[in-house]
Subunit: 319 residues, 2 copies
């Protein structure tokens, strides 16, 4: 069944894996991705969009598969030289990757919208599905720690997610103008898939824009989330700390709470199967299936299952 | 005789060779270089100062000795990727070199003066003499060709100096505020050495700033120019076309005319020895000595001779 209008809400590495699963799967036609721009930051005067680039490089098969981000065949000549010039270089930016940041920064300076820049980069990398941005405005995730507020990359990369998280804020989200294309996509979707991304700093940052959250809530689409937890642990990243900082539990309940009010179905790993009953009791459909994605086959298999499950449940609800 | 206060007016490759000759020669102590910023331009949103970088990389022994510009051990990953992104990449910018441009652009954006940025870069590269800029303002050489005005780099790099040159202009020079350090250096110099650089687009661009030219004219220093011509030809670059565009001859007379009003001595190659008499008749002291500089020894030997010659002639004039 091709042609189902599917929106994927995606963060970084987990989001990119889910995007690949959809892009190369049975339902590829009709898939659009809404990515996260709130991890964006400036380094060396260059504007870096880590989550968007991870999506583009993954879908274009130019990602470093070992680490899940950055370019394959990457070198770091420029960064080494910037270090020699006394610059902070904890944010790893390779030479190929820097071309993306130089290009984006220049285009941005010339007044090209972040959406159009993203499309230009996606085209160059042979990405076969549209990547939409929730907003072209600047929204930035900030993380409050015992020693003060950090930018997301400071927390994530520089501090290796070590500090305790007291609070997460989305600077600029309230004032951000949502992109019409993202709102239109959400309102016309048959299905909204929430990738196994961090519910706070990835998906939460997209939904922090009030009109985007409202569009998800208002959408007639079936909304299904793939839990980023396996056996109560995050596969990658600080989702556990982030959930805890919001007073949520680090389990399917915590994920459910993050998406409460608009979630119809959840996909959880067999290691968390014992949490299915609680979810079902909340009126949430549950698919229990292995959610770890390593190779492309894993990704396609999981996302094909997720969509088939959601369409099936949606049809049952409609009947 | 160390401690002579010497100013070198220097352009790109020829200027950098002369700077090395002074920096590693007998008179190294007390040498300051005034470099050319009018070749500067923006590429990919990054501010590039080709002549200043050639000076810094040469003096720091990090220049690609084969080509005379750019970094040794250079790679071009970022540029290749920018080309793949559809960008014009005729201006060769290597990965190591790009760090310089990224650093300069960011510092500039933060309000650091071009002089301070230059000093920071020079320090990083171990440059052992001060590099002063004639101005921290933007001055840009423009070249009028039969098809219209080109930036200097468009003419020099993109068009390989092929178009006829109708006129050369120094955009911004009239309005540029001269740097106090450059003016002070010129007014206190014992000796001003004009490197074998292009008299029009390198030295001419420095002297296009009215107060800088006046400071050279007013200086009590002995002013000696090393001709960039050997056998009536330029060693490198488009000095011949440039001289012709100003109605000057492509020989020692043309060089003399470029510096008329303030030149005391000239250094010419034995291949141009027949032009010595004409220069002497103008009241210009002449040193005939091989001016081709390949190895560091050539540079040091030539510049030591130039300074010794100038000091000798200066002493004779004072006597």
């Amino acid at each position: 069944m091709a042609g189902v209008n599917i929106t994927l809400l995606a963060g970084g590495v987990g989001g990119a894996k889910a995007a690949e699963g959809l892009a190369f799967g049975h339902y590829a036609q009709g898939v659009k991705v809404i990515g996260n721009v709130a991890d964006d930051d400036e380094f060396h005067g260059l504007w870096v969009s880590p989550d968007i680039d991870t999506l583009i490089y993954s879908l274009g098969d130019q990602i470093d598969r070992q680490q899940g981000w950055g370019r394959k065949g990457e070198s770091h000549q420029t960064l080494k030289e910037l270090a020699a010039l006394g610059q902070d270089t904890w944010m790893t930016l390779g030479d190929l990757d820097l071309a993306t940041h130089i290009y984006r920064t220049q285009q941005r300076k010339q007044g090209v919208s972040m959406s159009d820049i993203t499309q230009g980069l996606a085209t160059r990398h042979g990405v076969n599905l549209p990547i939409l941005l929730p907003t072209d405005d600047m929204v930035q995730t900030r993380v409050k720690t015992p020693t003060g507020w950090l930018s997301f990359q400071e927390f994530f990369v520089r501090e290796h997610c070590q500090p305790d998280v007291i609070e997460v804020a989305y600077q600029g989200a309230d004032q951000a103008t949502p992109n019409a294309a993202a709102l239109a996509q959400l309102s016309t979707s048959d299905l909204i898939v929430i990738a196994p991304s961090n519910p706070v700093v990835s998906i939460g940052a997209i939904l922090a824009i009030p009109d985007i959250r409202q569009a998800v809530i208002d959408s007639a689409a079936y909304v299904v989330a793939v839990s980023p937890l396996i056996g109560g642990k995050t596969v990658k990243g600080p989702a556990d700390k982030m959930l805890a900082s919001e007073g949520k539990s680090v389990d399917s309940k915590g994920i459910y709470d993050s998406y409460q009010g608009f979630i119809d179905g959840m996909v959880i790993d067999p290691q968390d199967a014992q949490e299915a009953d609680w979810l079902l009791a909340q009126g949430v459909d549950v698919l229990v299936t292995p959610t770890l994605m390593k190779e492309r086959d894993d990704k396609v298999s999981l996302l094909d299952q997720v969509v088939a499950f959601a369409l099936d449940k949606q049809a049952m609800r409609a009947a």
